[in-house]
């Protein structure tokens, strides 16, 4: 039987590759390969051979030019040694093949700054939004309640009842759309998958610390119209077991953490549609 293969790209400051790969395996992938970007640029590995791409958290190039900016530039211009193509060609091919991509934290910043998200009308290289410095001016590590939009096309959040509880760990997580029209289109298309809310997953909030960065419309994560590309600032791979939860010693919790469902959904999608 064909194997469901996930790839996690690392290098130049990516930090969450091990737990992301772990989450992929727990979620049902037969294989989760941690690939250094040099493995891709040398041509030793090709995105085409995988079904699910993880652009995971970290500080790509130290976020020196603004979060993920330098990597966005690298992916756009870097050539693959052995093949006569740019890495971006492989990436666009991956999208055209209808394969899912999940960007978390730095990976979300990367997707937005490359234009992969929200990717209106299938144009995945036009930046129309950004993620910038938290209103509080500081990096924050804290847990947040994320209200799910059940009407969103995201394949990753299927089956989430009200919301998920996950940690954020970032200094540049404030979502800003380039214009009112962009924001309206995101909302109208139900592309704003997850929004910061209070403990009951009620109304989205602009209040710190529930909304830790001051994101417009309290947006924590968005997807494209196909629902196959999604990015979010919180870390689903950081809550796959109950002992990851900050209050596991005082609350009765299921063994499995809230974040795992995103990886489970990706694996199910791959099995049902791509194998």
């Amino acid at each position: 039987m064909a194997r469901a293969r996930a790839i996690v790209i690392t290098g130049n400051g990516t930090n969450c590759e091990i737990e992301a790969a772990h989450a992929c395996r727990l979620g049902g992938f037969d294989e989760a390969v941690i690939a250094h970007i040099s493995d891709l640029l040398s041509g030793d590995l090709r995105l085409d051979d995988f079904h699910f791409l993880n652009l995971t958290g970290g500080f790509l190039d130290g976020d020196d030019l603004g979060s993920a900016k330098a990597q966005a530039n690298r992916l756009k211009y870097a050539r693959v040694d052995e093949l006569s193509e740019h890495l971006i060609d492989q990436l666009l091919r991956f999208i055209q093949a209808g394969k899912p991509i999940l960007g978390v934290c730095n990976g979300f910043q990367l997707m937005v700054k490359m234009g992969l998200l929200p990717g209106f009308d299938g144009n995945h290289l036009q930046q129309v939004a950004t993620l910038t410095f938290n209103d509080c001016g500081r990096f924050q590590d804290r847990w947040v309640y994320l209200k799910n939009n059940p009407a969103s096309p995201s394949i990753f959040t299927r089956g989430i009842e009200k919301g998920v509880y996950l940690p954020i760990r970032h200094g540049e997580g404030k979502f800003v759309a380039a214009s009112q029209e962009v924001m309206e289109r995101i909302e109208a298309g139900n592309l704003a998958v997850l929004k910061y809310s209070g403990p009951g997953y009620g109304e989205p909030t602009m209040e710190f610390p529930e909304n830790p960065n001051g994101s417009d419309h309290a947006i924590a994560g968005i997807c494209d119209e196909s629902g196959l590309l999604m990015g979010l600032m919180p870390h689903p791979e950081a809550f796959v077991h109950r002992t990851n939860h900050p209050r596991w010693t005082r609350e009765v919790l299921p063994e499995e953490g809230d974040g795992l469902i995103l990886f489970r959904n990706a694996a199910e999608y791959v099995r049902s549609k791509l194998l």
Binding site: A70, W143, G214, T249, R250
Partner: protein, 996 residues
């Protein structure tokens, strides 16, 4: 020609960086500023066409959604004053490096030699400010003139000049490299002048030893054969100064001490290190017998212990005090990325799994005058916290445990302790991972960053007190990303067996790392001309001792260098082959064809006789305060919760990623609202296993004012009881000692050196006694012995401080215990007895006293109780546990209650007392800091089982967890002596540092 690209936020976009600066100007400088906006400036000094520059500006340099870019035209508008801050020439510019790479990707052309991108930031200030105000904002807040330069323009001048002129902070050194010979056939006075002016930090005796070495006819002959004259070269003298520095050689810890105690008993101690630290580990290991879990202690960059059959744990804690005093941000950043290289360079190399950090500062709200060279404690606080934030977060290593300690004397030197643990497979390519070796013929290989003039004399300058003339060059700025790339590469090279030996390039640079490696195999031959430089113009001695960051030194077999280099190229890591290891017996350094240093390895490493150190112990007597008995202590408790040493550090901790790598089990903050202070951290390093690593620490410098013996005993006990509280097992737990002392060498500058030395002896005595009793082998450690400030008039010495870090194992992380009370009705136990031990307590400090009755650790009772408690944890009988330390029972009870969001009713009459009844009163029961105590809660249904396991130990049920949100404590007289709402207590505890 260099071109300026300026990036400004669009008008309607908030500028959090500017807002933060505005708040700080108002808060700390009390100046009226209406608005601060910021602009990023890139000065591109490279051959680029106009279209390319536009592409760069619009692409990687700016974010079109929120920013506008300006090429060759100024972006700034609408301000009264503009301050532009950039780095001085030669200071590491991380953003500039990334910007340059981005340009190279975009154009497809590498930069030519000498080309570069330099970054600076503009601050646009609006408000009614005088020129002098802007000057003080610039030097007091925006710019550390040691490493940065600044330009101030008022709006009119800016308009007239049409912006800020282009300037390129390129290093322009002389290209000619020179090797000087130094005449040591001079007077003693002249020898000392050579040492002092060269920042060699060598004593007269050491200078004379060097002098006589070069007189030795055999040495002269050997040197002649290499084309060297009888005089030492600057390269040789510098190499010896690094190798023999206090920082690298630990001369005080290896010296011979004549110790006299208060009764006149005399004792000669040959090496504190061997007599106490090494002996502790040796004796504990013997005592453990088959259960010994130490794998590599004291001989490598970090200690290695067994984790399980498949994995070994590595841990090291370092300090970076002197650099942090001069440049808090860069010093602390370098501290954390520097200590990362220790476990990474241990054995064959370890993957890094967590950081710990402990900072000792003076009060950030200090409002008295300070000596001129000292930075304000608040700037130190801000800079250090941010430096470690960037270093830790960007490296992808969770910061899981730490603390902040305050004492006014840390204004003289802040203490910045940074620790890192790693994990490695127990065997790699069939060899135990903690072992490594060098074969003569192996190549000397350096990887990572390039060498510049940064960090020259770091090792020797930190071996002296901080003074007016402390060198600027000693400061480095770390680059976590360059290091991360190197680690990504090296861990793969490790698994492929591409090198034989790896070590860190830290203090003393190549001189120390290659010097030590040469000691392993008996010699080396290295050509400094092959070392990659950041810019031309470095002299050979500078190349040898530069502490430029992000470098590892390796021994690579010639047969594997091809594969090693090719892999490095793919990972974007620079590799240089500098020579080869030999068994010649010589540290042989060349510059091109010419020999510039030829030192016998034996002389470098064993040529130094032990220092002679007098030590005399006279116990201090402090005024003994009268204890005031009152009806109510709620106000005292509230004040204690708001004291700097006790209050919440959440505003700092939340800035550190403590969960990356996915194995976080017990986080720094816990409880109903995720804001109660954890005692220890628990981490699962292997994600598909539930075996956990537990890490904790103890530190109590205040106790040194009474007796460093008990300071040490309490620090160790605090470390272990924190560890035990969270569920750490006593079967596999090890300690690390970090001594930070004030200069203990008797001299004109330090007339009380013999007392400080006696304090060090007593501390070491306690280290042995307590670690033996607790079965705690010491696996690694470090000392920093010159934590004083002296400008000729004012001398500030830090209180002698021991940071004791504890690392060990929890068999099943799902059994871990947190400090927050869990449910109403649970029984509250106090484990351990309380005594009249308010000496050096937070309670007395609040009242302006030190006192004398210092807590005394009873290790035998404590160890037995800790073991029983652990059994109860394993049996799942413990609902919560919090250690008692600063502020005693009252503070611990308040913290556990508000963390769990349930009240507590406690009765002081039920607290077990030891010693004299006359000292037993509500104050001592509430606020004594007697050691080895835990506040535990247990569900009623587990009461019998818990008490059965604890039987035979000192413990007492002292109350119950309540549903009401109130902490109520009854005193000995039967009346309520503390009654406060949890909200009020928590607010007092959270308020002091909340907005920093």
């Amino acid at each position: 020609m260099a071109r300026r690209i300026e990036i400004a936020l669009k008008d309607h976009i908030r500028d959090p960086r500017g807002e933060r600066i505005k708040r700080e100007i108002e808060h700390f400088l009390h100046l009226p500023v209406e608005r601060v906006r910021t602009i990023d400036v890139y000065t591109v000094d490279a051959e680029l066409g106009y279209a390319e520059l536009q592409q760069v500006a619009a692409g990687p340099f700016s974010d079109q959604v929120i920013q506008d870019w300006y090429l060759d035209t100024p972006a700034a508008t609408g301000f009264d004053y503009l301050v532009e801050v950039g780095l001085r020439p030669g200071v590491t510019d991380n953003v500039g490096r990334t910007a340059r790479e981005a340009v190279e990707y975009l154009t497809g052309r590498p930069f030519r030699a000498g080309e570069g991108v330099y970054t600076s930031v503009q601050y646009l200030l609006s408000g009614k400010l005088a020129p002098a105000d802007v000057e003080s904002i610039s030097t007091g807040l925006l710019c550390n003139t040691l490493i940065q330069r600044y330009t101030i323009l008022d709006a009119a001048t800016f308009a007239a000049n049409k912006g800020v002129s282009v300037s390129v902070p390129k290093v322009l050194g002389e290209i000619k490299t020179t090797v000087k010979e130094i005449d040591l056939e001079v007077s003693d006075q002249e020898l000392m002048r050579i040492s002092k002016e060269g920042v060699l930090a060598l004593t007269l005796e050491e200078m004379r030893i060097i002098q006589s070495h070069f007189r030795d006819p055999q040495v002269v002959t050997a040197r002649q054969s290499m084309g060297l004259g009888p005089r030492p070269t600057d390269v040789e003298l510098e190499a010896l100064a690094q190798t023999w520095s206090e920082h690298c050689k630990h001369k005080i810890f290896s010296g011979t001490v004549q110790y006299e105690d208060e009764t006149g008993n005399r004792q000669e101690i040959k090496s504190l290190f061997k007599s106490f630290i090494q002996r502790t580990t040796k004796d504990v290991r013997e005592k453990l017998g088959d259960r010994d879990f130490c794998l590599s202690v004291f001989k490598d960059n970090a200690g290695v212990i067994r984790f399980n059959d498949d994995w070994s744990l590595v841990f090291k804690v370092e300090t970076h005090n002197s650099p942090s005093a001069l440049d808090p941000y860069g010093g602390a950043l370098t501290g954390i990325v520097g200590v990362n290289r220790d476990p990474f360079g241990t054995g064959q190399g370890a993957k890094l799994i967590f950081n710990t950090d402990v900072f000792c500062f003076a009060d950030p709200f200090y409002d008295k005058p300070l000596p001129s060279r000292l930075l304000h404690p608040r700037r130190i606080y801000e800079g250090v916290v941010e430096g470690v934030e960037h270093g830790g977060n960007k490296s992808g290593i969770p910061t899981v445990n730490g603390s902040l300690v305050f004492d006014e004397r840390f204004a003289g030197k802040p203490l910045v302790f940074c620790g890192t643990a790693g994990i490695m497979p127990a065997t790699i390519n069939g060899r135990p991972s903690h072992e490594k070796h060098i074969e003569p013929g192996d190549l000397i290989v350096m990887t990572g960053g390039r060498i510049g003039k940064d960090g020259i004399h770091g090792a020797t300058f930190s071996s002296e007190e901080l003074n007016e003339n402390s060198p600027v060059s000693a400061v480095q700025i770390g680059d976590p990303i360059t290091q991360k790339r190197m680690f990504d590469f090296l861990i793969r090279a490790r698994d492929k067996g591409l090198y034989n030996f790896i070590t860190d390039n830290g203090a003393g640079g190549l001189s120390s790392s290659i010097g030590e490696m040469a000691g392993e195999c008996g010699g080396c031959r290295m050509d400094l001309a092959k070392a990659p430089l950041k810019y031309a113009g470095l002299n050979p001695w500078e190349i040898l001792i530069s502490e430029a960051q992000e470098r590892m030194s390796l021994a690579v077999p010639p047969a594997k260098i091809g594969e090693f280099s090719e892999m490095a190229r793919r990972f974007g890591v620079e590799v240089s082959v500098l020579g080869e290891f030999t068994d010649s017996g010589y540290f042989h350094i060349l510059y091109g064809e010419r020999t510039v240093a030829y030192l016998p390895v034996a002389f470098m490493h064993e040529g130094l006789p032990p220092m002679q150190l007098p030590a005399r112990w006279t116990p201090p007597r402090h005024e003994e305060p009268r204890i005031q008995i009152q009806d109510d202590y709620t106000a005292e408790l509230t004040q204690l919760l708001a004291s700097l040493n006790i209050c919440s550090k959440e505003s700092v901790v939340r800035r550190y990623d403590h969960e990356v790598q996915g194995g976080s089990v017990v986080k720094p903050f816990t409880g109903a609202a995720n804001d109660g202070p954890s005692d220890a951290a628990v981490v699962r390093p292997i994600l598909d296993s539930f075996e956990g690593v537990v890490v904790a620490h103890g530190i109590c410098p205040r106790y040194s004012d009474i007796d460093t013996y008990h300071m040490t005993a309490n620090a160790i006990d605090e470390g272990l009881r924190n560890y035990v509280a969270a569920g750490g097992s006593l079967d596999m737990v090890a300690g690390l000692d970090n001594f930070c002392w004030c200069d203990p060498v008797l001299s004109e500058k330090t007339p009380d050196g013999d007392y400080k030395m006696a304090q060090l002896v007593r501390s070491n005595q306690a280290l042995y006694d307590v670690c033996m009793a607790y079965n705690l082998p010491l696996i690694s450690g470090k000392d920093s012995m010159k934590n004083d400030f002296y400008d000729g008039e004012v001398k500030i010495s830090i209180p002698p401080t021991l940071l004791f870090s504890v690392i060990g194992r929890i068999e099943d992380a799902r059994k871990a215990v947190t400090m927050d009370v869990k449910s109403p009705g649970d029984i509250v136990y106090l484990l351990g007895k309380t005594d009249n031990e308010l000496g050096a307590s937070e309670y007395l400090a609040l009242r302006g006293f030190v006192g004398n009755r210092i807590p005394v650790v009873n290790t035998a009772m404590a160890y037995k109780r800790y073991s029983a408690y652990h059994e109860a944890v394993v049996a799942g009988l413990v609902a919560s546990c919090h250690d008692l330390s600063d502020g005693g029972l009252a503070v611990a009870a308040a913290e556990s209650a508000f963390a769990g969001s349930y009240g507590m009713d406690l009765d002081l009459s039920r607290v077990l007392w030891k010693g004299d009844e006359s000292g037993r009163n509500d104050v001592t029961l509430l606020f004594s800091e007697s050691a080895s105590r835990h506040l535990v809660t247990v569900r009623p249904e587990h009461r019998a089982a818990f008490e059965a396991i604890m039987a035979g130990n000192c413990f007492a049920a002292i109350g119950v967890v309540t549903d009401g949100p109130v902490l109520a404590i009854n005193g000995l007289g039967g009346g309520t002596v503390i009654k406060a709402s949890l909200d009020a207590l928590k607010d007092a505890w959270q308020r002091p540092l909340r907005d920093l």
